[in-house]
């Protein structure tokens, strides 16, 4: 029995109440987030229902968008959304994973260390810390890319990227125009500038999550690989990357989701033309850009149509996430052996 002199006591009433309240609060917020998500989806789908009844599946397969004639269909936008996202994902993944490896596997720090060694400052109390600091600075800079507002990316694309790539595009079209990718000329906004900017926008997501996943790979696994006589390349590709693959892939799926839904920069750069083309230089349109451009002047009746388009975008992102989760599961069991 507790006495006055004993230090150990059961939790007081206040402690017990705080504990219960904290748990309830956390649970409440979690449910709230889920409920909000459901309400958003529900509202959009309900608002889309009249348009779904009116236009049916032809909305998904047609290529005309003419509010004056009340003709609506979004196949070019579906194509543009998927095409731009997939292309951006290819570039973003290549650069993002490479950057994550570079930052997580000590390449940066090693390079700075080697530089310091030349001037014999590598163990200096101040300069000796530089390798790690440079590594952190670089990864912070890359994460800072995620903080740049979408509209700034759009402006940058208009005034920097388009003038920059235009000469190369002209040349590619003139000399290699028989390749479908270069089938049209770049007349200003178009798929390529949109994809370039989109790749940069999704890069920090892939790099930050990828770096986290790589850093989470236990050092002892790397040591095991090196101990068996693996080169750095072999250790990274045979051990570190496969072990971190689940996390890296999670980052890629997240980045794909962002690419699909990215609005402002694309509305400014993609050209907003109802065209289906594999040419990188052709103007195109995406679902998100269509919504952003069409909403301001939409009549109440058009809103239903736009909600239909929004529902399609939602379904696409949902499918991508489900497919991503499935692929992660599948590759994980392939790579890591069967779990018992």
């Amino acid at each position: 029995m507790p006495t006055e002199t004993q230090i150990s006591k059961p939790p007081s009433r206040t402690q017990a109440i705080t504990d219960t309240a904290f748990r309830a609060l956390c649970q409440g917020f979690t449910w709230l987030v889920a409920v909000i998500a459901v309400i958003i989806v529900l509202k959009i789908v309900l608002a889309a229902l009249p348009a779904v009844r009116q236009y049916g599946l032809g909305f998904l397969s047609g290529q005309v968008w003419d509010p004056n004639k009340k003709l609506y269909s979004i196949l070019p936008e579906i194509w543009g959304t998927l095409y731009s996202s997939v292309l951006a994902l290819i570039f973003g993944t290549a650069f993002g994973v490479a950057a994550a490896l570079f930052l997580a596997e000590g390449f940066t720090a090693d390079a700075v260390f080697a530089l310091l060694k030349i001037v014999n400052l590598q163990f200096h109390p101040f300069w000796g810390k530089l390798p790690v600091q440079v590594e952190n600075l670089l990864s912070n800079l890359i994460e800072l890319l995620a903080a740049i507002p979408s509209v700034v990316y759009g402006l940058w694309g208009l005034f920097v990227i388009i003038p920059l790539v235009r000469p190369a595009c002209h040349w590619l079209h003139a000399d290699l125009g028989w390749i479908p990718l270069f089938g049209t000329d770049l007349s200003g906004p178009g798929m390529l500038p949109a994809v370039i900017v989109l790749s940069i926008m999704i890069l920090p997501t892939i790099t930050a999550i990828g770096r986290g996943a790589l850093l989470a790979v236990p050092t002892r696994l790397r040591m095991a690989a090196y101990g068996l006589g693996a080169t750095r390349w072999e250790a990274i590709f045979a051990v570190t990357l496969p072990t971190a693959s689940r996390g890296i892939f999670g980052g890629i799926v997240l980045a794909f989701g962002r690419a699909l839904g990215e609005t402002m920069a694309l509305a400014m750069l993609v050209g907003n033309a109802n065209v289906i083309s594999v040419s990188l230089f052709s103007p195109a349109n995406t679902l998100a850009a269509l919504l952003a451009n069409a909403f301001p002047e939409a009549s109440p009746k058009d809103v239903g149509v736009l909600m239909y388009a929004a529902t399609v975008l939602l379904v696409i992102t949902l499918l991508v996430n489900v497919a991503g989760a499935y692929i992660v599961q599948f590759t994980a069991s392939e790579l890591e052996g069967e779990k018992v």
Binding site: R220, A230, E234, E336
Partner: protein, 276 residues
């Protein structure tokens, strides 16, 4: 260092000064991490078909000395060695030697079991793949698992994750992985410190079997273990006289002699358990 052909059984040449049974002659004059001198004056020969144990208090540099023997220390930024390690008649710290090649001939097992997050089979086959082994991989994997006393326990679950095994099994899997490529020397860095007594016993039995085929060097903080398994023992101690903590070899000899008739005062005290 010869090319990375596994099981190249060329005779061990020696530099004339050491005993022909010595596979590796590790002679550390000074070893630094950055400006910190971690080990000094430590010469340990590792013999064929014998187990050489390093004992000593925490922080005396036992593991550092072990990691010197397959150039694992090269992975530490700022590592520097004065001295040499003779293996196959060459200094493995020679200017033309690739540390990666060294590690293919000198296997290592770590303190924490560290199987890769892949199947049991792929874990053991890892070294074979690194060495571009063209022969019958499945047979080699089976042989290594049998040598590591693990075959009977895992033969029906070669496709399951190595991480699904128990701690002791994982460590034996790591031993199988290390010996699959038939290295000449096997370095064990406190291989039982994360294991329970039963698993520890099975690893010790395994070491005694394996010494027929490999030269084994083991670091242990467990004196009884060193006494039970080792043929030669080196005792390392910490020198704090220069205001730093530098490990050095106090005494090296037959395990019987070290444990029953130690010559140095520090060894006597340590063996008697007067300090640790």
């Amino acid at each position: 260092m010869p090319t990375a052909e596994i099981a190249s059984q060329e005779p061990v040449s020696t530099n004339g000064k050491v005993d022909p049974s010595v596979v590796m002659d590790c002679n550390i004059e000074n070893l630094y991490y950055g400006s910190f001198k971690a080990v000094r004056d430590t010469r340990i020969p590792v013999q064929k078909n014998a187990i050489t144990a390093f004992i000593g208090p925490s922080g005396c540099g036992k593991s550092t000395v072990l990691r010197c023997m397959n150039r694992m220390n090269d992975l530490v930024r700022g590592f520097r060695l004065e001295g040499h390690v003779q293996f196959r008649g060459q200094d493995i710290y020679g200017p033309k030697i690739d540390p990666v090649a060294v590690r293919r001939f000198i296997g290592m097992v770590f303190q924490q079991p560290n199987p890769f997050a892949t199947s049991v089979y792929n874990n053991v086959a890892f070294g074979l793949r690194l060495n571009n082994f063209k022969g019958n991989k499945a047979a080699k994997v089976e042989e290594a698992l049998k040598s590591a006393d693990l075959w009977d326990e895992v033969k029906d679950k070669l496709n399951e994750s190595g991480l699904s095994l128990s701690g002791g099994q994982q460590q034996r899997l790591c031993i199988a992985r290390a010996i699959a490529t038939e290295p000449e020397v096997l370095l064990l860095d406190e291989p039982c410190s994360a294991l329970d007594p039963v698993a520890t016993r099975s690893i010790e039995e395994l070491m005694k079997q394996l010494k027929a085929r490999f030269a084994i060097a083991i670091v242990t903080h467990n004196l009884q273990q060193a006494q039970r398994v080792s043929d030669k023992t080196g005792f390392l101690y910490v020198d704090t006289s220069e205001g730093s903590r530098t490990g050095y070899l106090v005494e090296f000899g037959d395990s019987n002699q070290i444990f029953h008739d130690p010559k140095q005062k520090e060894t006597q005290q340590y063996i008697k358990g007067e300090f640790s």
